[in-house]
């Protein structure tokens, strides 16, 4: 059980909680009306761990990430970020929805990158990165811009700082979105199919940035269809189907010796598509 008072602020260094998961989901379930999209999911992310989530379309991968970030409230179970319950509070033995500000505080260590970038089109690349630094962290314009430029440099886009999203390529947009998330110094990053909306020739530049992040020790959960990337970068791969985690393990094991029939099928389909 995570201790109720195991409070870790976002400024805590990663090593202080070593061995404790940064993200832990226990028995989470989620339905949209009648449709059960997640059932009884257990999920852990240790510091510096890179986990790739794979599975067929509609298996609930996005919903899982969204529940772990409380963009979608889960119906059952618990999600802990740094040992703190996300999205709900226990009050007099009853579980109630937490206030928005409480949710924000608990998920502060989480950065999120979306398939469709979701940059703000009325702001330049740099302004996209500095917005939260100024509004949330209260940095002066000068300090925020210095920090923002450092983040853009990290994704190799310093020279595009003054451009609006409409004049950036998809790969550049996604890298700005990564820089925007990094600016808030997350301890864990969630990626939901970060390269699925990109032209094939632009996938590499985004994956390279993610590889670098993994190399720098960032904790990451990545929903992806890029099996090659998963095989190379993931410490662990999770295979989902029909709202359940079917198999989970190191990529070598999962890709070479899949135990379940559904994973074998999934991998075969993938191979057929990518070898022809």
């Amino acid at each position: 059980m995570p201790m109720a008072d195991a409070v870790t602020t976002p400024t805590t260094t990663p090593h202080q909680t070593h061995g404790e998961p940064i993200v832990e989901a226990r028995g989470i379930g989620k339905s949209f009306g009648e449709l059960e999209v997640l059932s009884d999911i257990d999920f852990r992310l240790e510091p510096s761990e890179v986990v790739c989530v794979i599975g067929p379309s509609g298996s609930g991968k996005s919903t899982l990430l969204r529940c772990l970030a409380f963009l979608e409230p889960y119906d059952h179970g618990s999600v802990y970020i740094d040992g703190q319950l996300l999205g709900y509070e226990e009050r007099g033995g009853m579980r109630v929805r937490a206030r928005e500000s409480r949710v924000d505080a608990v998920r502060a260590p989480v950065g999120m990158v979306f398939q469709h970038f979701h940059l703000w089109p009325h702001r330049t690349a740099l302004e996209n990165v500095t917005e939260a630094l100024r509004l949330v962290n209260g940095l002066s314009r000068r300090d925020a811009e210095a920090e923002g430029m450092a983040m853009l440099e990290r994704v190799g886009l310093a020279e595009r700082a003054g451009h609006f999203p409409e004049s950036l390529s998809g790969g550049q947009k996604q890298r700005v979105a990564i820089a925007r998330a990094l600016a808030m110094q997350p301890r864990v990053m969630f990626f939901d199919e970060p390269t699925s909306a990109l032209d094939p020739e632009l996938v590499g530049e985004v994956l390279d940035v993610m590889k670098q992040l993994a190399h720098d020790g960032m904790t990451m959960a990545i929903v992806t269809h890029e099996m090659g990337f998963a095989a190379k970068v993931a410490d662990r791969v999770v295979f989902m189907d029909q709202g359940r985690i079917i198999e989970s393990g190191p990529p070598e094991t999962l890709f070479r010796t899949p135990r379940s029939e559904r994973l074998q099928q999934f991998l075969n389909t993938w191979r057929e598509r990518h070898i022809d």
């Binding site: 703000w120 939260a132 440099e153 310093a158 003054g162 998330a181 808030m184």
Partner: protein, 232 residues
């Protein structure tokens, strides 16, 4: 023929009418634009609480002629202890009526901003208030300038109805001149020209605002030295 001298002799009435039309429309439109935004923001922030009442309000505005609303305020007001000057009734009527239309215009603007942009803001810890004022409203404003301009023009033209509740606006004073001089063409043409000028001014303002709100050119924010250790 066209009697310019007549217009010169009655200039005081015409100018008084112009002034009344301008300030009443200005205040009425101000109420419409701001109350509309409040209504749209309420509906957006808490659809459960405000969705239905705001939707009803919008339908009421669309389903009621402005003139009826003005009659209710001016002649019906006193029976519920609401004694309004004709001018104030005019401002209130135009404001309340326009707010319903503006609420819809704003809602359309808000709705066309992808939800993901707000989720991105939430994930960065940006408060709903800041998301509204820094992300939604600036984008929404751009989208609503053309339909908003159009609506303001309609309100100014419909404001002629306040002449019926005895406000000395352009239309009423033109009619007064007609009744005094038995010249119909000159006063009404002069007044039409003045309405058209006000409207042209609003249209120009709208275009200027549209241009101003469009994306600025890319700025070159990279300063010497800062990019020296750029990522290889």
């Amino acid at each position: 023929m066209f009697d310019l001298a007549l217009l010169w002799e009655t200039r005081e009435l015409i100018l008084q009418g112009l002034w009344n039309t301008v300030w009443i429309c200005f205040l009425g439109c101000l109420v419409a634009v701001s109350l509309g935004l409040v209504l749209a923001a309420l509906r957006l922030s808490s659809p459960r609480l405000f969705g239905y009442p705001v939707a009803c309000y919008v339908e009421l505005c669309r389903g009621t002629p402005l003139l009826v609303l003005l009659f209710l305020l001016y002649y019906g007001g006193p029976s519920i202890g609401l004694l309004l000057d004709a001018e104030i009734a005019g401002v209130t009527g135009i404001g309340l009526y326009g707010a319903g239309y503006f609420a819809e215009i704003y809602r359309g603007g808000f709705k066309s901003i992808p939800k993901g942009q707000l989720e991105a803001a939430r994930m960065l810890g940006i408060s709903p208030w800041h998301a509204l004022t820094r992300i939604q409203i600036p984008q929404m404003l751009r989208l609503i300038v053309p339909p908003g301009t159009n609506q303001l023009i309609i309100l100014v033209k419909e404001s002629a109805l306040i002449s019926i509740i005895s406000v000395d606006d352009l239309t009423k004073n033109a009619t007064t001149i007609v009744n005094q001089t038995f010249n119909v063409i000159e006063p009404y043409l002069a007044v039409a020209l003045l309405y058209w000028m006000i409207i042209e001014l609003i249209a120009r303002g709208g275009y200027a605002l549209e241009k101003r709100l469009a994306n600025r050119q890319p700025r070159h924010v990279v300063r010497q030295g800062e990019s020296a250790h750029a990522h290889g």
